[in-house]
């Protein structure tokens, strides 16, 4: 095997492909990245740890086709630190020689025949604009659980229904739901999957900048695949029945408030400074204003009043400051609408760009459970 490739192209491809490699693999070969150069001038890099697979293809000048398995971590570090010159890679005996300008590295190879084959990509379900997908993912993954003892909740539920793709995530304390339109392969497609939130975040980070992202879910497959710009990744789905969380959204609300998102974020951050761990930030909405408060008794206290529009009865509630800020940061709209049924029941956060709510958008909804006191 012998090929030449641009340093930046190699570094990007290796870094992305090797990004999910385990630090302590159960089998040594799983720490490797497989390089495969073919006569058509394509270099394919692959990794697989039985859960997540990654494959990227770049153009290379191939002198001799062939394939090798080398340490992914080491190859990634080397390629990132090489000078900006063409890189020559060749197999000599059982070693891989990398030369770039005046630098020369010799790497041991691992038995490439022992490397597991990557899973096939499921059937293509459709495609979505990379930026829109990345935004939707970032809006829902904030609410996904991080507790690995509840694996179900570390997932994001992906629902595909014709031209609508819905993402849902909850850690039991808040629930984020985002609907986004996409281009299905068939207008009648109807599929659901539970995908680990970190897999989706990774897709948003590494695949969305290249225009359109292909999503492959297949029917009854146990993996999901994503492909964009010559990169393809698959991931095992999370097993289990996702709870019917949509019904947690109230059918109707009795009070709603509209506040400047940026002002509310700023004020909440300031007031939250005195909220000790597990203690809430209190919000009292009255006609024309909201007062934020935190701290109690002998502890440090803070309060701040903001302009806010109230429709309905005045209401006072309390939230975990971080959960409130997570939702506000995900809105991406000028104004934040909080809708209530009761101070002790979940509140719905939605966004709108005008204060009168003519453009009130419900494609992103964030349901937030208040904090109460034990007695």
């Amino acid at each position: 095997m012998k090929f030449r490739v641009e340093r930046d192209v190699l570094a990007d491809a290796v870094t992305w492909t090797a990004r999910t490699l385990p630090t302590r693999p159960p089998v040594p070969v799983l720490a490797g990245v497989r390089l495969e150069a073919d006569a058509e001038g394509t270099l394919t890099l692959s990794t697989f740890d039985y859960e997540v697979s990654a494959r990227s293809q770049v153009a290379a000048e191939v002198d001799e086709p062939g394939r090798v398995l080398v340490s992914g971590r080491l190859l990634a570090e080397i390629s990132r630190s090489l000078p900006a010159k063409p890189v020559d890679v060749s197999l000599e005996g059982t070693k891989v020689i990398i030369t770039c300008g005046a630098s020369r590295f010799t790497l041991l190879t691992m038995p490439v025949d022992d490397y597991p084959s990557l899973p096939d990509m499921p059937e293509r379900s459709g495609s979505i604009d990379g930026d829109a997908f990345a935004q939707a993912i970032s809006q829902v993954t904030i609410a996904a659980g991080r507790d690995e003892t509840l694996p179900l909740l570390t997932g994001v539920r992906v629902e595909i229904e014709g031209e609508k793709l819905t993402l849902l995530a909850t850690d039991r304390y808040r629930l984020a739901m985002r609907e986004v339109s996409w281009n299905p392969s068939s207008p009648s497609v109807s599929q659901v999957a539970l995908v680990r939130a970190r897999t989706l975040s990774d897709v948003a980070r590494s695949l969305s900048s290249t225009g359109s992202v292909e999503i492959a879910l297949g029917d009854g497959a146990d993996i999901i695949g994503f492909e964009a710009g010559g990169r393809r990744t698959t991931s095992l789905l999370v097993d289990g029945e996702y709870p019917p969380v949509r019904r947690l959204f109230p059918e109707q609300t009795t009070t709603h408030t509209v506040t400047s998102t940026a002002q509310l974020i700023e004020a909440a951050k300031r007031v939250a400074l005195v909220a000790e761990r597990n203690t809430p930030i209190r919000l009292s909405f009255t006609d024309g204003q909201v007062v934020l408060e935190a701290g109690q008794g002998d502890d440090a206290q803070a309060s701040e009043a903001l302009e806010s529009t109230l429709v309905g009865e005045p209401i006072t509630t309390a939230f975990n400051p971080q959960y409130l800020l997570d939702g506000l940061a995900a809105l991406n709209t000028e104004f934040c609408r909080l809708s209530f049924t009761h101070a002790s029941k979940p509140a719905v956060m939605t966004g709108q760009d005008s204060i009168d709510g003519a453009d009130h958008a419900e494609e992103f909804r964030y349901l937030l459970m208040p904090i109460r006191f034990a007695s």
Binding site: R172, Y173, N278, T279, S344, M369, I371, F373, A374, S375
Partner: protein, 415 residues
């Protein structure tokens, strides 16, 4: 609010010798209602009931409402029927706790030997305060005067040589009074009371005792012990006789801040059935939760202790997602801990539940889950507390515990 049988005849001057009576029982009059009247003085002199607006029970009532027959733990619907003109106020437990804390602070300035029994009553042993402040009657008057002046609520005080008699004295002193039972007058005072005044003598026991024509404490005190034991059992019989003769050696025990609350039980025969063990855990969870609520604490961690037939002792603990004082939550955590253990076929000799990571329920914030069922369970268990306080611990229990080994197959320890 005190509902024990009282005798008008017993509320008289029993003498002024307070040299042998260092025990004070301070009991607030209609406490929750009285606190409400602080902010709403226009309601003074009118019947006021504190309790759930719709389905709840009466938590407290002013003497004007009591005159109509209203008493605590009575269903609100019945109270409204008895006293339709009463003003009903929803309870504000935080406010009651604040005032209670102030009351306890005033008591704490008299003596550190103070044993709070609940939010509105406490025992004091003023032996050590005699030289600094004065004799018990002077101390009691000062306490009553300070509480009335500074907090605008009323305390009645019983003064006696033992806790039991002091408590009886305070109930006879109400409302707004003070009653000294000199040491020498203890037995005459007790013997003037109906037998229902004794701790542990409820309606059922009264009926039983009536078969031997025992109607007063004096009757009981003069019943030959063997006859009494045959009727109510040796242990209760002995205890009743001790009380009837004023023998109550319990000292006033200042409570320390509890670090954990637990119940454990050793079985007469080792238990092997998971359902039996779960029933024990449920019973213990209820006991722990009731004590947490009484102490106004919540727990954030549950552990279980399992001793096997060969005396191997295993403990498992689990932090709770949200602080609680609800038996259901404690039980769910305890049961999942038990389910996670592999128990040998030899069975379990001892089982216990412990709640730790305790904190003040008034100031502990709880991030509820989106599917939070609300406070229904807690309200139900609080109502159980009220019923049990009136009719005894066995009056009400979880349906699944009726006739289970939890109450029948072993001896219990609390800690």
């Amino acid at each position: 609010m005190s509902r024990g049988p009282r005798s008008e005849a017993a509320n008289r001057d029993w003498g002024a010798d307070d040299s042998g009576t260092p025990i004070l029982h301070v009991d607030m009059d209609a406490f929750f209602a009285a606190v409400e009247l602080i902010d709403r003085p226009e309601l003074r002199g009118r019947p006021v009931i504190v309790g759930g607006q719709h389905r709840g029970v009466v938590l407290s009532a002013t003497y004007e409402a009591r005159a109509a027959g209203v008493h605590s733990a009575m269903p609100m619907s019945r109270a409204r029927a008895l006293c339709p003109q009463a003003i009903v106020i929803s309870p504000d437990h935080r406010r009651y706790r604040d005032v209670s804390r102030e009351v306890m602070r005033i008591l704490g300035e008299v003596t550190p030997v103070i044993e709070p029994l609940s939010i509105d009553e406490a025992f004091l042993d003023v032996s050590g305060a005699r030289r600094r402040v004065g004799p018990p009657t002077v101390i009691a008057e000062r306490i009553r005067e300070r509480i009335a002046r500074e907090l605008h609520v009323i305390a009645s005080v019983g003064i006696a040589s033992t806790k039991f008699v002091a408590k009886l004295a305070s109930s006879h002193a109400k409302p707004d009074g003070m009653l000294l039972i000199p040491h020498e007058a203890t037995i005459p005072f007790l013997h003037a009371l109906p037998v229902g005044a004794l701790w542990g003598v409820g309606e059922r026991t009264q009926e039983t005792l009536a078969r031997l024509a025992i109607h007063t404490v004096a009757d009981l005190a003069h019943t030959p012990p063997p006859a009494l034991y045959r009727l109510v059992g040796a242990a209760s019989g002995q205890r009743l006789l001790d009380l009837a003769w004023g023998r109550d050696p319990r000292a006033v025990e200042p409570v320390r801040q509890e670090k954990s609350i637990g119940h454990e039980q050793t079985f007469f025969t080792d238990l092997t059935d998971l359902a039996d063990l779960s029933a024990v855990l449920l019973d213990q969870s209820h006991r722990c939760a009731a004590r947490l609520r009484a102490a106004e604490l919540v727990t954030s961690g549950v552990s279980i202790k399992v001793r096997l037939a060969d005396f191997t002792t295993l403990t498992r603990s689990h932090p709770l997602d949200a602080a609680t004082d609800v038996a259901h939550d404690i039980y769910m955590a305890a049961r999942s801990l038990l389910a996670g253990m592999t128990l040998p076929p030899g069975g379990v000799r001892l089982l216990g539940v412990r709640c730790d990571a305790l904190s003040d329920s008034a100031t502990t914030a709880v991030q509820a889950t989106l599917d939070d069922p609300g406070t229904e369970r807690r309200d139900a268990e609080r109502t159980m507390d009220v019923v049990r306080a009136r009719y005894g611990a066995s009056a009400l229990t979880a349906g699944s515990l009726i006739g289970t080994p939890a109450t029948a197959k072993g001896k219990s320890d609390i800690s």
